[in-house]
């Protein structure tokens, strides 16, 4: 069994740690590129949302490298993501690929026994004791938290750095080294090292960079291919960005929600506008918008794929926040046809607008 998985931000680093520690065979899909997207689009239904297509591209590229089992989570929310595995399997089968799917669903939906069954089928080939397996899972969790934390800090403090480009270089280096290092421990060590390094980069507290919150559909804001590397671009322009929806956030949030002890302030803030979960991450989007406003951010960028159902609801709500709280919001809708030129022009115009407002001290 050779396990692969779709890309989602930094999860591949955590996956490397997990599978290395479990000592099972795995394939990390090549970093998503335009080519991945092309392959994905070719084989996916036209109207499906963008994440589906990129994921198909990931699978196919991994299969070519020898993978035979796909591991995905099937969040049972009322959105398409939870339904993905079904159609994805059919798509891959119609291409004549024999492939297994391990779908990790919430225990409350499939029963705790089935849940454990599926979990253990991941580590079927591993000859470690159960204690070691749990330890491996723990290490993976640690890895995802570390790398996300590093990325978060880099992105936010990029606006404040003394020597331009330090944070962006560090971010590139840590990802490369983490994936090249040997074994689970090796990767963790690299991450810890870099965590210290981030804190030691000099920042200039007198700077007042533009601060932007990135909100919207979780996959498209995490996956840089689908949002046309928006965070990197903003980083290079010396803009500080913040986003809450990282894979580590998702893990924590899902776990807490399953235990019904989730007290994230996001939901409190969203309550006035959207009091319930309608699927996807619409509620988070609205709550984030409010939180960012309260933290005195200069603007918000909402990103979601064409046809994304929950985000359309939040897009209907955002203009009211924009008006009432006087915070500029830009909605970007992306799909495989999004042209770079027009996209970047809109971002630039948006930054100009904020710049102007800042100068006039609005």
């Amino acid at each position: 069994m050779n396990i692969t998985f779709p890309h989602l931000g930094n999860t591949y680093i955590a996956a490397k740690v997990l599978f290395d520690a479990l000592d099972v065979e795995y394939t990390i899909p090549p970093i998503s590129t335009k080519k991945t997207l092309e392959i994905g689009c070719l084989h996916s239904p036209d109207d499906i949302c963008l994440p589906f297509k990129i994921m198909i591209g990931n699978y196919i590229e991994s299969i070519e490298k020898g993978a035979d089992t796909v591991l995905i989570t099937g969040s049972c929310g009322p959105c398409r993501f939870g339904e993905y595995c079904e159609l994805q399997k059919k798509v891959l089968m119609s291409l004549g690929r024999q492939i297994n799917f391990i779908v990790i669903d919430e225990p409350s939906k499939i029963g705790i026994k089935e849940f454990l069954n599926r979990l253990s089928s991941v580590a079927k080939d591993s000859r470690l004791s159960i204690y070691k397996k749990i330890k491996a899972l723990n290490m993976a969790l640690k890895a995802i938290n570390l790398i996300d934390e590093i990325e978060k800090e880099c992105r936010f403090f990029a606006g404040y750095e003394k020597n331009k480009g330090e944070f962006s270089k560090l971010l590139k280096d840590v990802k490369r080294e983490a994936i090249e290092s040997k074994g689970a421990e090796g990767t963790l060590k690299v991450l810890e090292n870099y965590k210290d390094k981030v804190d030691r980069i000099e920042i200039d507290n007198f700077k007042t960079p533009i601060k932007i919150g990135i909100i919207g559909e979780i996959y498209t804001i995490i996956d840089s291919l689908s949002n046309l590397y928006i965070e990197d671009i903003l980083m290079n322009l010396g803009v500080s960005t913040k986003r809450t929806l990282y894979p580590s956030w998702w893990v924590k949030n899902t776990a807490l929600s399953a235990l019904k002890i989730n007290r994230s302030p996001i939901y409190k803030e969203a309550k006035h506008y959207l009091g319930m979960c309608i699927g996807g991450h619409a509620q988070e989007c609205v709550g984030e918008a409010m939180l960012n406003y309260k933290m005195r951010f200069d603007g918000l960028i909402q990103i979601f794929p064409v046809g994304c159902m929950p985000e359309i609801v939040s897009k209907a709500i955002l203009p009211d926040i924009e008006k009432r709280y006087n915070i500029p919001i830009l909605s970007l809708v992306v799909d495989e046809m999004t042209g770079e030129a027009g996209y970047y022009t809109r971002i630039e115009a948006f930054l100009d607008l904020i710049e102007g407002r800042k100068r006039m001290c609005i």
Binding site: I48, C76, R80, V91, G279, I312, A316
Partner: protein, 301 residues
């Protein structure tokens, strides 16, 4: 008080029942007219660009009613089956309407109705906001139950072709959106099945995962049941652009029925009637040819 009932989305199916319910409680109701050009334009103008056509049209209905009644009913339908959902846009419909149209006088009962009890509860909670006593509610509820839309089957004697018409109820029953599709099929001597006049079997065991969308499950089951039992000659799936749920069911069905005749019509506000007509005609021709061929083969064999 006059309550406005927008004649869009699932209200099309439950309109009479809702009206009866509210009338019995003692309200005057006004239903917006069948979808027309004016309503469509109102909707397209006011709704989020990316939304699907039915949702836009619903916005149009609300906008139409806004000054013609005291309060507009925008139900938030959460579930019609246990452990299943309808569509994120249904759950967030009141919010969309409220902020896109900047309208305050709406009432949004939350409807969760996967069995008798939950339906009753939802309606009871709704009526509680008006301080309705139990007796009256009982009568109103009865009225609701007995007025739920029943599709009356228009059977054509001796039809040579039978087609299954798939799609959301608000596309199938709204003759403006679907451009009189059912009528056109009838004129061509095609008998039309819809979800409401067949009893499908449950074929979801074929899937690795139980679907959690009501629409997906029912369309899938209908299609597979009728194809497996050989009751139909073809399937027409009418869907709107940008419908996330249809993007799944269309392909899920396509992958399962192989080369069975299957026509997918996608519509939005720019769809021209002529184009749709040609495609329907071509499809009917294809079906006719096929049925002839089949006849030839069987008589030879």
């Amino acid at each position: 008080m006059i309550i406005g009932i927008p004649n869009g989305l699932l209200n099309i199916k439950y309109r009479d029942a809702i009206q009866e319910f509210l009338n019995t409680i003692g309200f005057t109701t006004v239903v917006s007219p069948k979808t027309n050009k004016e309503i469509l334009d109102l909707g397209v103008l006011n709704c989020v660009d990316e939304a699907c056509l039915p949702v836009k049209i619903f916005h149009g209905h609300v906008e139409y009613l806004r000054d013609r009644c005291d309060i507009v009913l925008v139900p938030r339908i959460m579930k019609l089956n246990k452990n299943e959902f309808i569509c994120p846009k249904f759950c967030g419909l009141p919010e969309m309407v409220k902020y896109s149209l900047d309208i305050k006088n709406i009432i949004c009962p939350t409807i969760t109705a996967y069995n008798e009890k939950t339906l009753r509860n939802s309606l009871y909670n709704f009526s509680k906001t008006f301080r309705v006593d139990k007796e009256k509610f009982k009568r109103a509820y009865k009225g609701f139950k007995s007025n739920i839309y029943k599709y009356n089957k228009t059977s054509i004697s001796n039809p040579n072709l039978r087609v299954l018409l798939l799609g959301h109820p608000y596309l199938i029953y709204d003759d403006f959106i679907n451009m009189n599709l059912a009528k056109k099929l009838h004129q061509n001597g095609v008998e039309v099945f819809t979800e409401d006049n067949i009893e499908p079997y449950d074929y979801t065991y074929r899937l690795i995962k139980k679907p959690f969308w009501t629409f997906l499950r029912s369309t899938y089951n209908c299609a597979i049941s009728l194809v497996e039992t050989g009751k139909i000659d073809g399937i027409i799936y009418i869907s709107s652009f940008g419908c996330g749920i249809d993007s799944f069911s269309i392909d899920l069905i396509k992958k399962d029925i192989g080369s069975f005749p299957y026509l997918v019509l996608k519509i939005d506000e720019h769809t021209g009637e002529a184009g749709i007509d040609t495609r329907i005609e071509a499809f009917i021709d294809l079906l006719k040819r096929r049925s002839k061929n089949e006849y030839n083969i069987s008589s030879l064999g």
